[in-house]
């Protein structure tokens, strides 16, 4: 089965990178090589395969393949940026571990097993909180993340187990299905750290490097969201098209997150927190998507999930490039950044287009579709306006960039430079070339990931087709058609 090489490579690479963490340069090299091989293995996955291992089915889908390919590509870019910016050594290992567990979770038709795999992936992310020189603060941030991951996993497992058996003699069907549905959706909300479950996610930006924030708060939770969406679509939606109070709760959580997280991102004073809250705000759309029961929500939510993980990774890449170029992430110290580095301006504009989208883009249409399914009349217009809220914090970043720079700057040059190379000292010369091109190389990487985000948002790479595909295990079978609400 073509998924097995991917799992084997990613798991072995994770172990190797973690085992070598005492030698940071080697661990980073192994992690980067592992990510490249993982990308190749993801590209080699053939959709539509099915295998029974240990009494449980494992199946591949086009969506899973695309998710893994996009995340692996983003992972290579982020790991390179992390290496250039001096980010802590565990970042590639955490990316590999998250990819491995996401691949497993997305290939398991049984939600009870998939939830366990997605939860294990969340635990690997805790390594990025171990802050050198501030171990206790890092441990505090980390244990709160573990708490959120385990609470979410336990809630989702209990919900999945509750209604995944013959329930012919169940007396109070609507209530049981409604509670199970709410529990699973809340579990996904907790994993994303959306408001009001955001305390741990907000603090994560205190300790984790920017390149790892989307891995922990977007990639892993997105895999759980895809599992949850398939579970809802197969088990809840066909039986219970109307779950009023439960949907109201989720809609409330989604709206509160979109509005408040956008505002929070707007008022932050450093890039990492802007990034953290921006991920939170976009995750609110996924929570709204979970509230939209029915087959009409299936494709838009999955399109948005793909656009979301790539766009947030691209924004993280831009933040890392900013830090690598200007030696700071504090917005007060970044005045005039746009005057100094035009490629980073282009990258940010592409990130804005990729994350918000343009009319006609797949991601734009997906968000409009989700909102249209949930609201009607003037409320639809208000929600669509709220979804444009991220423009506020992006505009603030651009305005800071065009202000007059503070006196004196240690910023790296954005143009590539080629210092004299001494062939008798090849290693020293290579290090010099890398060092003097830090600004140029990180800006280029940020540009590439931003372009990938625009492509994904526009629906290239077969995003709409992959998102419209059936869940694992349903190939060859007709998808369950729930009664229309």
């Amino acid at each position: 089965m073509s998924l097995l090489p991917f799992l084997i490579v990613s798991i072995i690479s994770t172990g190797a990178a973690l085992g070598l963490r005492g030698r940071p340069a080697l661990a980073t090299l192994v992690g980067l090589a592992g990510l490249v091989v993982t990308l190749l293995a993801a590209l080699a996955i053939r959709p539509g395969e099915r295998l029974v291992i240990g009494g449980a089915a494992v199946a591949t889908t086009e969506f899973m393949r695309l998710f893994l390919v996009l995340c692996s590509t983003c992972g290579i870019g982020l790991a390179l940026l992390g290496a250039a910016a001096g980010t802590r050594r565990d970042a590639p290992a955490v990316m590999l571990g998250t990819l491995a567990t996401a691949g497993l979770a997305l290939s398991l038709p049984d939600a009870r097993v998939a939830v366990l795999a997605a939860t294990a992936g969340g635990l690997i992310g805790v390594l990025v909180t171990l802050t050198p020189g501030a171990a206790r603060v890092g441990a505090t941030v980390g244990i709160r993340e573990v708490r959120a991951v385990i609470i979410a996993g336990s809630l989702a497992l209990a919900a999945a187990a509750w209604i995944q058996r013959p329930l012919d003699d169940l007396v109070v069907q609507p209530q049981v299905f409604g509670l199970a549905y709410l529990a699973f959706a809340i579990a996904i909300a907790v994993r994303f750290g959306v408001i009001p479950f955001h305390f741990w996610a907000a603090r994560l930006a205190d300790a984790a490097p920017e390149v790892t924030i989307p891995v922990v708060t977007a990639w892993g939770p997105a895999a759980l969201a895809v599992v949850g969406l398939a579970w809802i679509d197969q088990l809840v939606a066909p039986i219970l098209p109307e779950v009023g109070p439960e949907r109201a709760v989720l809609i409330g959580v989604g709206i509160a997150t979109i509005v408040l997280a956008t505002f929070a991102a707007w008022i932050q004073d450093d890039l990492e927190h802007v990034l953290g809250y921006s991920i939170m705000g976009d995750a609110g759309v996924i929570v709204l998507g979970l509230a939209a029961l029915g087959t009409e929500a299936w494709t838009p939510v999955r399109v948005w999930i793909l656009a979301f993980v790539v766009a947030r990774s691209a924004f993280a890449a831009w933040c890392a490039a900013m830090r690598a170029t200007f030696w700071t992430g504090r917005l007060d110290d970044l005045q005039g950044w746009a005057r100094h580095s035009p490629p980073l301006v282009v990258a940010l504009v592409l990130v804005i287009i990729g994350s918000i989208g343009l009319p006609g883009f797949a991601a734009w249409d997906a968000r409009v579709s989700i909102v249209n399914q949930l609201f009607g009349g003037p409320l639809t217009v208000l929600m669509l306006l709220a979804l444009l809220g991220p423009i506020a914090y992006y505009a603030r970043l651009l305005m800071i960039g065009v202000r007059r720079p503070l006196g004196g700057t240690a910023a790296e040059h954005w143009r590539p430079r080629w210092p004299a190379v001494d062939l008798t000292r090849a290693r020293t010369s290579a290090e010099t070339v890398v060092r003097v091109n830090r600004g140029a190389s990180t800006a280029l990487l940020a540009l590439l990931l931003a372009a990938l985000a625009v492509g994904t948002s526009a629906g290239l790479f077969g995003v709409p087709e992959a998102a419209a595909g059936v869940a694992p295990g349903l190939q060859g079978e007709s998808q369950i058609e729930p009664p229309s609400p």
């Binding site: 910016a85 690997i124 171990a135 603060v137 505090t140 244990i143 573990v146 708490r147 809630l155 209990a158």
Partner: protein, 225 residues
């Protein structure tokens, strides 16, 4: 109710009560190990040898990783109401679990599993919600995860071998995560496993990017591990 499975379920509860009650980190880990070793046996029929071996290996590995973090000593805050009160709480929840087997429909698993799951869920609330040190919160999370796994067995019956394998990996990963965090907290000056005090000034992020590439603090940390 099967007396043999009931006895194993009691073993699970004893381990969990010890883990959440005591103040000595090492004894807490021993209690946790007891819970993790007995939990996979609360099934009817008992799982396949491969599944059982995977779960036992995962549990022992998790406990060993935690042991590495606590073997040098270190106290957790433990229960403020004492082990008898915790045991009574668990007993009450156990009875509730017995009385609600299936949660509204016919269950496929043993009643003891759901009862033990309910008892563990009741035990984990206080450590998870109000724990003020890494080890206590971590132990509470182990108990919570085990509660969900037992309720799942009680409702849906025996998990497949693959599910047991993934579960073992999850338990080992949780052990590794909590151990790494506990070790990090304990190695950061006096204060043992305590969380950083709050309110506190926001952590000034270390400069990830700086001209002086090697950072002494991180280099020192590497040699520790």
């Amino acid at each position: 109710m099967n007396p043999a499975i009931g006895a194993v379920a009691v073993g699970v509860l004893v381990g969990a009560v010890i883990a959440v009650s005591v103040r000595d980190g090492r004894i807490a880990v021993v209690g946790l190990l007891t819970m993790l070793v007995f939990s996979p046996i609360v099934t009817d029929p008992i799982g396949t040898p491969l599944a059982l071996a995977a779960r036992l290996a995962g549990g022992v590995l998790a406990a060993y990783l935690l042991w590495i973090a606590v073997r040098g000593g270190g106290m957790t805050s433990g229960s403020r109401i004492g082990w008898p009160a915790e045991a009574l709480l668990a007993l009450g929840a156990f009875v509730v679990g017995l009385g609600t087997h299936g949660l509204g429909a016919t269950a496929l698993g043993p009643v003891e599993a759901q009862a033990a799951g309910f008892a563990l869920a009741a035990l984990c609330v206080v450590p998870v919600a109000t724990g003020r040190d890494v080890l206590r919160i971590g132990i509470g999370l182990f108990v919570l995860l085990q509660a969900a796994l037992l309720v799942r067995v009680g409702l849906d019956g025996n998990p497949s071998e693959l599910e047991q394998l993934v579960t073992a990996g999850l338990i080992a990963a949780l052990g590794g995560s909590v151990a790494a965090l506990a070790y990090a907290a304990r190695s950061d000056g006096p204060g043992g496993f305590d969380l950083a005090s709050e309110p506190r000034p926001r952590l000034r992020r270390p400069q990830d990017a700086r001209r002086d590439a090697p950072r002494p603090a991180e280099a020192a940390l590497i040699t520790d591990r």
